[in-house]
């Protein structure tokens, strides 16, 4: 069974530029999550989707972050404009049901200069 796929693995941008990350969850997994992991800290939930609807986006900085999950499969997380403090690994995870085990991708490492 293929795992959660994420791209790109690494991205370096200047502050105020924009960036987008893509996630393809495990086939059949209805629930998808985006987490932000700052160096030396635990992951922090940004947004949770159930199929293509948002379940929780209370910790998403909506003035600069946006996410969508078209057709309830792939998802894209966008940051515009990026700030220095957005430097982190962005982890995508999926689960087969709302309260099921989370399977994480390898993450997308963002460096904002």
């Amino acid at each position: 069974e293929a795992g959660v796929a994420q791209s790109p693995r690494y991205k370096i941008i200047e502050k105020r530029q924009s960036v987008a990350f893509w996630c393809n969850p495990i086939s059949g997994h209805a629930t998808l999550y985006w987490y932000q992991q700052i160096l030396g800290q635990g992951p922090k939930l940004l947004i949770q989707f159930q199929n293509n609807g948002v379940v929780d986006d209370s910790q998403l900085p909506k003035d600069r972050f946006s996410a969508e999950r078209l057709k309830g499969v792939d998802s894209t997380l966008k940051i515009q404009p990026a700030k220095l403090e957005d430097s982190a690994v962005y982890l995508c995870a999926s689960s087969s049901r709302t309260a099921g085990e989370l399977f994480f991708g390898e993450g997308s490492r963002l460096t904002v200069l």
Binding site: V4, Q41, G42, L45, D56, L102, F103, F104, E106
Partner: protein, 113 residues
């Protein structure tokens, strides 16, 4: 306050020894307590999890001890091996409806051969 505090930040153990990582939580509504293992460049992977209706859960060399009255839980790794060297995160969530994991800060474990 939805916080999970983890200690120590880093831990060095000799091969064959016991590794112990501790976590404390504040929200008494938490009812699911997983531990995740993360290797460099990889996403976190579920290691073992416990619910508050039991005081201990063992899977192979890994044991979770849970103290509901003290709001604390810990991970014990018996017969620690160099392959166990990784960062470990405790987490907690309210597993009713949306699963919103709150992670600890992480413990970098090094097992010396």
């Amino acid at each position: 306050q939805q916080q999970v505090k983890q200690s120590p930040q880093s831990l060095i153990v000799q091969k064959g020894g016991i590794s112990i990582i501790n976590c404390a939580y504040e929200n008494t509504a938490f009812d699911y307590f997983p531990w995740y293992q993360q290797f460099p460049g990889k996403g976190p992977a579920l290691l073992i999890a416990i619910r508050p209706d039991v005081s201990e859960k063992k899977e192979g060399r890994f044991t979770i001890s849970f103290n509901k009255s003290a709001k604390q839980f810990s991970l014990h790794i018996m017969d620690s091996q160099p392959g166990d060297s990784a960062t470990y995160f405790c987490a907690a969530s309210i597993k009713q409806g949306a699963q919103k994991l709150v992670f600890g800060q992480g413990t970098r474990l090094t097992i010396n051969p």
